[in-house]
Every structure is written in C-alpha cells, then in structure tokens.
Symmetry: C2
Subunit: 466 residues, 2 copies
C-alpha cells in the first residue's frame, strides 16, 4: 500500500495518476441521489479533511458505506483528482473502502459532528483531540514546542532537564505537592512524635518543583547558555482560567548576561515563535480567527513588527498615576502591578509589548540582583497587549555577600541554600534568565481563554481524570 497522510494530498504533493491509500476517521458523510457518497476523512495531519467520493458500485456500498457515521475509522484506496467543487483543490475517487472500526452506538457517540462547548469537551478529554478545536490546539502546541527547541539550539543553548522531585522551594513561598511513599494508614513516627521522614523513599521530605531555575543556574555557570523546557507544579487552590496544578515552563538561563540581554532574548524568542506558528500553522490559525478570536493573526503579525517598549517600574507607576484612569487597585510606588495596570501600559499607553524593569525589592524573590539604588532589583516582566504578563525574568544576584543579606532579610536560612551559594563562591558570573508559561503562550497565540483547553489532560483542584 502506498499510504499518504491527508496533508500531503491537500498540499498537492501526491501524483494524480497513481493509487494511494489514506487512513483516518470519518468527519461527515453525505449521500447524493446519483448514488455517490461524499466522505470527509481526517487523520490529524492538518486541519482540513480530505473529500472522498465513493461510488455505489463498490461491493460494500450498501452494507457498510451507507452505515458510516462520524468517528468510524477507515482505510481508503483510490486516485487523487482535481476537485470540481469550490471547497477544495483535490479530492479522492475511492476504489476500495475498508472499515477498520465502527462507532458502538452512533446516537450516543460523545463526539458527534457538531460544535461542542469547551466545558463539555473537558469532560471527554480522551476523545476531545478528535474535535477540530482541540486538534488545532494540539498542532499549534507542537509547533510552538518544536520552535522553542529549534530557537535555543540554533543560538547555542543546551537543553537541561532539571529535577521534578525536589527538597527545596525555589521561590521560598510556594504551595507545593508532597511526594512520598509512606503508608498514610500507618505513618512512621520519630522519637519526638513527629512524622519520621527518614523512613520515606528519599529519607527526607520531598515535593514537586515550582521552578527549575536554581538548578538551571548551576548548569549556566558551567555551560554558559542553557534552557529548561519541562513540567512544573503549583498546589494552589486556584480555580481560574489561567492556573493549572501541572503546567509546562520554558526557562533560559544565561551566564555573562544582564537584564537587558535577557529582555532582548525574550523579544527575539517571542518573535521567532510567532513567526514559526504563522508560517507553519496557517490552517489552524485561520480556524482560531474564524471561531475563537478574529484578531489572533493580526495580533501576532503586529507583535512581530513592533519593537518592544521598555520602561522602568518607577516610570510605569508615574504613567499610571498620570493616566487619569480609575483603576480598581490604587497605584503607588511599591505595589505589584495588577492585570488592569499591565494591560493599560501595553494596550493604551505603549500600544506595543512592553518590558517593565527594576521592581521594588520587597515584592520580588530573594535571588534577584539588587540595583545600586538599594531599593529595586533587576527584575523584568514582559507585558503583551491582550493578555498582560507573559514572561517574568531577572538578573540573578551573583554577589555572595549581597545574596546572603537578602536571604537573611527575607527570613530564609543560608544553610538551605548552600549549594546555590557555592555558585557564588566559586567563579561567580553575572547571569540572568526568565520563565515563560507554555500554556499561557498558547493562549496568546490561539485566543483561547482557558489554559485547561491548551494541555492534553489538565490537572486542577479536584480534577485528575484520565
């Protein structure tokens, strides 16, 4: 059999005088009075289905073809011809249709060919990739992931897999999942009456990581340019459209780089990724523009064509104060910017992606580099029109004595960070990096509102199905 994916046929890459076979699933079937059936077959290789014309002269036409319903799996052999119809350039004239799998009860098939709500689709997460919407999300997700690896590889970065199970807490304030093999019905107790974690798998308390950054720093301090791209966890009881208990994160870390260097890196990376998805997934983006958000394509093109604005946090506060907007959250130096502030800056004031830099040290993590003003740290957030914060980063504190002062001021123990401090004791270098939430990136690209629809099997409070 000369098997071809649907995408090869639709792109005109299949010769029109040879017999080929496509394998996939029935999207729809309609029958003409002239004794022909039109079957739309998809195989996931691209957004569109292939139109297949089946003549009633086929032996199994009455018994099988006329019984095909949405979701049946088929293997169809035939020739590709120019389509006289207006919907497609090519179609297939079938010479043989083999039905591989039927739908148990078409009346109750959960993925009937109609528009389903995203809420309903989450309840059938094992079947939802069969929907046009989730198929398109999956291809966009793949394209962005590939582009991320390609971007960093081409720039000489090494991919590092940082550990998921950890005994340390990067941010010093995370809500973390415990990882354990202790028998909860029969917990071992130490002499002091507390749980005896010495009996646990790792011999001490262990958790799921909230960030690979600290570990990535160790590798940046040896290989110069590294990035992580892996899962990350938050045990926050947040039932919002922007939170997942398990999500994927991209975290580059660059030795000998300062805040401006990684702000430039973030701009270059986002533009590279958006260019890739515009070039490679035009079919799926057209669908999102039609069905989800009419602005998605223009928004990406706009993003690519504009230079990022840059503004100091202190100046951003002034802009907000002078804006005469009535914000829900009052504006004053020292506050963390909230979503309304971020969107005003990106959408109303700068009308472009904007990098806000140098935040008050009180609202940022211990590892961010203290500026000479002694009041701010070299942190940055990238704010995008239409979504707000999409990237958060910082130059890291490379000076041991300043780091120690910060740790103490924040009530953290030096002993808990001894290996991290070693990176400053031995050949320390200025370095910087940032984090990009992968599902939020896909939200920006597709216009989809809820991150639960942008990862195959979402994990959220009270939901660990499938």
């Amino acid at each position: 059999m000369n098997i071809k994916p649907v995408i090869a046929v639709l792109q005109g890459l299949v010769a029109r005088d040879t017999e080929i076979t496509v394998q996939g699933w029935v999207r729809t079937r309609r029958d003409s009075k002239a004794g022909l059936s039109f079957i739309a077959v998809y195989d996931g290789s691209c957004f569109d289905s292939l139109q297949v014309i089946v003549n009633n002269s086929l032996a199994n036409y009455q018994d099988e073809i006329l019984c095909l319903t949405t979701g049946c799996s088929v293997e169809i052999t035939g020739q590709i011809v120019d389509s006289p119809g207006s919907g497609q350039k090519f179609e297939m004239q079938a010479t043989k249709v083999v039905v591989k799998g039927w739908i148990e009860d078409p009346e109750t098939y959960p993925m009937a060919a109609k528009r389903h709500s995203v809420e309903y689709l989450r309840e059938v997460a094992h079947l939802r990739p069969r929907a046009n919407l989730i198929g398109a999300v999956t291809r966009v997700r793949h394209t962005l992931a590939q582009a991320i690896h390609r971007f960093f590889h081409e720039k000489g970065y090494f991919w590092i897999s940082t550990p998921l199970i950890t005994a340390s807490d990067t941010e010093g304030a995370g809500e973390m999942f415990r990882v354990s093999t202790l028998d909860l019905e029969n917990l071992p107790l130490a002499e002091n009456g507390k749980i005896d974690f010495d009996k646990d798998f790792f011999g001490k308390e262990a958790f799921l990581t909230v960030s690979g950054q600290l570990n990535a720093e160790a590798y940046a301090c040896a290989l110069s340019k590294v990035y992580t791209f892996g899962p990350t966890f938050r045990a926050e009881n947040s039932n919002t459209s922007r939170h997942l208990a398990e999500f994927w994160m991209v975290e580059p870390e660059v030795a000998f780089a300062d805040l401006d260097d990684v702000a430039d890196l973030a701009e270059e990376m986002l533009k590279y990724l958006f260019t890739a998805v515009l070039n490679e997934r035009a079919d799926d983006l057209a669908f999102f523009a039609e069905r989800v958000d009419t602005t998605v394509i223009a928004r990406l093109q706009d993003f690519i064509n504009k230079d990022f604005a840059q503004v100091d946090y202190t100046d951003a506060i002034k802009i907000l104060q002078e804006s005469k907007q009535s914000f829900e959250n009052p504006v004053a130096w020292g506050i963390d910017l909230s979503s309304e502030h971020e969107r005003y800056l990106a959408e109303e004031h700068f009308k472009a992606p904007v990098v806000v830099k140098n935040y008050p040290k009180e609202i940022k993590a211990f590892y961010m580099r203290l500026n000479d003003d002694n009041k701010t740290v070299a942190a940055m957030d990238v704010l995008a029109p239409g979504i707000g914060e999409i990237i958060g980063g910082a130059q890291r504190e490379e000076r041991l004595e300043v780091l120690d002062t910060r740790l103490t001021a924040m009530g953290l123990k030096k002993e808990d960070y001894s290996w991290y401090r070693d990176l400053r004791r031995y050949g320390t270098v200025p370095h910087a990096g940032f984090g990009l939430g992968f599902e939020r990136l896909i939200a920006y690209v597709t216009g989809m509102k809820n991150v639960r629809d942008l990862i195959p099997f979402p994990r959220t409070p009270r939901n660990v199905s499938f």
Copy 2:
C-alpha cells in the same frame, strides 16, 4: 564588545584581524619563564578550551593573572591567531583580561583540575557540569534530545505532553509515588475510619505516572502519529546503575501501525539518533572513546551499518537452548529473557541489534495485542549489543472484547479503564508504539555505566539532593 563562543573560535569561524571577546572559566594556567601565561578557557560551547596567551605587559598581570586558578570566571579580549603549538589550530593573544569571579579558597575548591571519580562528582552535582566528563554528557544529552524532536517532527508526529500526576496505573503493577497536599500530622478521616482523600487536592488518591502510553493512545486515535518525551517515575527501591526514581522517556504511538511497523520505526529512529550524535558531537565522543570506553564510536557506526535481526521469542528460546551456553537463569518457553540471554542473542548469535517479537502473554501487560495462537502477544524488545534491552514496545489490543477478557484474566477492573476502553468502542484502529528510556540511550552512546551520571540531578532511594 564582539563576544564569541569558544566553539566559533576553534572552528575557525572568527576573523583573525578583529578584536573579539570570550567569556568563560579558567581550566588551567601555566606560566613561562619568558613572562607569558597560557590560560585554557572553557565556556561549555564545545569540549575543548581556548588557549589564551597573556603577556606580562598587561596592567593586572602581577596582581590578577598570576593569581588565576581553575574555575575563576574571566572575560578576555584579544585577537585570534594561528597557533604555533601542536595542540590547537587557533589561539588568542589577549589584550585585556577582566576577572569576573574568583575561587573562594583554591585549595579546597571541589572541582580542582584533576580527574575525579564519578562517585565523587555525584556529591557535587551542582558543580559537576564544570568537569570535562559531565560537560560532555550534557552536550550529548542535548544533541540526542534535539535529534529526537527533529526525527519525529520530520516524520509528521506531534509531540504530546501526557500528564505527570495521575489517578491510574498504566502497567497495573507499578510502585508509584503518592502526590498529596494533605497535612500528614493531621490526616482527615472518613466515616469508615480510612483516610479521606476527598479532602486531598484532587479529591482522590493521586500518583506520579509510570508511563504516558495510555494517554498517548488517546491522541494517536485522533492525530494518527504522536510521541511523548517527558519525565516518568518509579518508586522502586532499586539501587542499581540502571535505575532512577525520576527519568525521561520517549514514547511514540502510531495509529494504523502493527508490530512490524514500530519495529521498523525503532530501527530508523535509533540509526537517525546515532548518526546525529556522530555528526554533531565528534569532540565529546572522542573523549568518551579515550576515557570511558574505547569502543563507543565503532559501536555506533556498526549499529548504523547493520540491518536489525528479527526473531520470534519462540525461536529465540530454541537458539538459547541449542547454544550450549551455561546460563545462570535456566531457559524454557515462558520465561522472561534476562540480561545474559539478551546479550547472548545480540552479541554472540546475531552479532547485530535484534528485535525479539511475540512474547508469552503471561509475562506481558494487559494492553498488548493477543496473537492468533492465543498464547503470545504482539510485544517486542530491541536488544543492542553491549547493553541488552534498549526499547520495549507492542501492538496494542484494539478489539474491545479481547481487551476485556485480558483485563478480567489479569484481575483488573473494567471500570478503572473506562476511558481507555472508549478508544475501542468508538472508531478503534490497530495501533502500536514503544518506549525508550532516555538515560539508557545516553549510556549506550557514551559508554557510561551509571544512569546517575547521565541526568543532571539524579533522584534515587535516599537521594533528593540539590
């Protein structure tokens, strides 16, 4: 500053009449009587260091240059010249050396420039990427990861991120880590006196996954060709050189494919990956051949040039029985092959990688497709000379009634697999896939014996450091 990575200099990509800057760390320093110092500088971009010649005419020569020790971070500006020495083609004549970071106490620096044992390096996992050995491992790991993504992308596969936190147990027999936010000091009890998991984060018991396969099958049954590449967990108390509690796995899953198709895919993939690493990491492989295992390069070339042998399990048993070898583990139809059997087949009998197919159903998982003999299932293992099993795969049971019979026979409950059964109720298709342990792949490529040295921060029983 015109900053260049060391690899660009050593590959001759830097013009020899312009001033450039390299940033990195001192590997070694030696001083000549003529008032010159030779500093070997590495930045991780490739295996070799750049030799930098520093003349005592530099202002900081006495106070700083002569104090440089292994591990100090430096930023050096100068011109690239042809090297008169035999060790390298190019070297740098420094015009400026800026010391960025000193070594706190060179006498006790854990990464002094000498050969360290792998056991010692594990104790300083945050500093060990600075060693030649672990730097080389990191670059090989990166190259293989990139090649995996590229291979599948070029063949039309979509990368799927399957969930790490799960309520189901793929193999039906895994030792799994519990994931929970319950307060162990104050566990909620239900009315029956048992732990009330309804109060836990997910509202039920949750664990870390042992495989993404079942979830990947759901996506293959919609998008045809998918693969996972992500972390996987085993709570086995195994202190061996081949086991990690947290490791990375590659799992392609292909709709409309049978066992032979994925055996071919495995062969094509491994040859693609080994070709990539031979082409892209010649420097690091030369190091492994010199220091770790003299056969690594020849072994990879041999692997690429040989066709895989294929043998049925039943025939493999006959070969072993007729071999007149005295195996520790007796050979009889029905046994699981042990390492000595696998290595005899690959190394002595076939003298090539060999795919063993169609194992007794009793020793394989419930989801593997029952063969017509009713005794064996369509499972395969790929055995490689020098390491034994490197890939395990199977055609999946796509027939609902056969799957149900197998579930029942193995004491598993149909209800626990309801979503997995749905894939067979609705448009089922023949499909197949396999799993490749990423760290074992790196072991094969590098000749390194212990997987703890092939992942940045290994997790094993009683070890969750860093």
